[in-house]
Symmetry: C2
Subunit: 208 residues, 2 copies
Amino acid sequence: MNRPAGNGDEPRKVIGNQPKTARGEATRKAIIDAAERVIGSKGYYDASIGHITSEAGVAQGTFYIYFKTKEEVFSELVLEMGRMLRFTLSEATQGIEDRLEAEKAGLRAFLKFVKDHPDLYRIVQEALFVDPEAYRAYYRSFVDGYRVGLVAAQEAGQVVEEDAEILAWALMGISRSLGERLVIFGTETPIEELVTTAYNLIANGIKP
Amino acid sequence: MNRPAGNGDEPRKVIGNQPKTARGEATRKAIIDAAERVIGSKGYYDASIGHITSEAGVAQGTFYIYFKTKEEVFSELVLEMGRMLRFTLSEATQGIEDRLEAEKAGLRAFLKFVKDHPDLYRIVQEALFVDPEAYRAYYRSFVDGYRVGLVAAQEAGQVVEEDAEILAWALMGISRSLGERLVIFGTETPIEELVTTAYNLIANGIKP
DNA sequence: GACAAGCATGAATACTGGTTCATGTTCGCG
DNA sequence: CGCGAACATGAACCAGTATTCATGCTTGTC
């Protein structure tokens, strides 16, 4: 029961075991990618570790070298997804001066992203049940971005003086709903049409 | 392999076994109610038949007198939920002449319903994975109601001439998002405040 | 008051699937 | 080389749980 002094009880709360070589890095990535495909298509509960590892081309035990539990890959997936989406959006609105135009570009980029990654969409939804904390963090960060933009626009007198937090949730709801229609309900409406209609609604709805 | 002629292959697609006496009726209802509570709080996959039946105060085997599978109670729950919500909304907007006022009343009723039934909200969300067909039907019927109202208002010249289907999805998204904020994110904003802000957004957004 | 259909029981079944482990294999470095 | 740390294997373990089943109870009816 002896051990070096100056050590806490927990081994520094590392997420899974970080690989130390390029080889391990590659394997870990292969597993995450496989998990994305398998969980995305079958859902979390129907996706077994066996499915994931065989899709990744490794043995079942290998999974546990990199992840402590099944839940852990999932959480990481959700995090990754949030990062990707935020990156895509900031990329798409980079350098656009007019705030309303930026809004439009963001909406368009969001719908495109969702359409290109239908699996990712479902994964985030399922996080509400598998990892509620990750789910909340995902939407919180999304809505925060929205809110900051709105507040700035309000200060510039371009947006009506309503509670920016509530407004942000409402606007996010529009994007999300149209995205869901695309992915879950498989409608064929061109994205540009959705963007135009939603943009008019939003622009008229929030102008001062 | 002989059987009476004039019979299809399927035994009339009865959902579960309908009880024939008041006693059975009561037991069946007790199980559904228990399922609502247990699945609502633990989620579908963590809610075992054992949990549900013990919550209902019956033996495990009793469950299978009334439902063929675990999925079946769940589907019935989702259906029931859709019915309840639609009833509540039509109740709340009954007899309101002005369409915009009706919209406001509907929004208020929706948020109140969601707040009073947080479990039900999560159950519908989970249906996307457990019974996608039920999930789609739920939202389809919701959005259809919305669309019909919008089209009527457009014909009366009260609403802008945008695609009513898209508009309906967007507006539904606003309600849903604010409802989710209430239930999943546990914010304490008074419903009336949400209604006012959202109403202004919607009213300005869709006026011709 | 006995018969049968409906209802109820809960132990046994059957199987899935997450996790562990004892045993290799790879590979960079001295 | 050859040593050790990192990585990989896949068979076995085991806990949980949906579903079945043989048996027993209730209740209304003739």
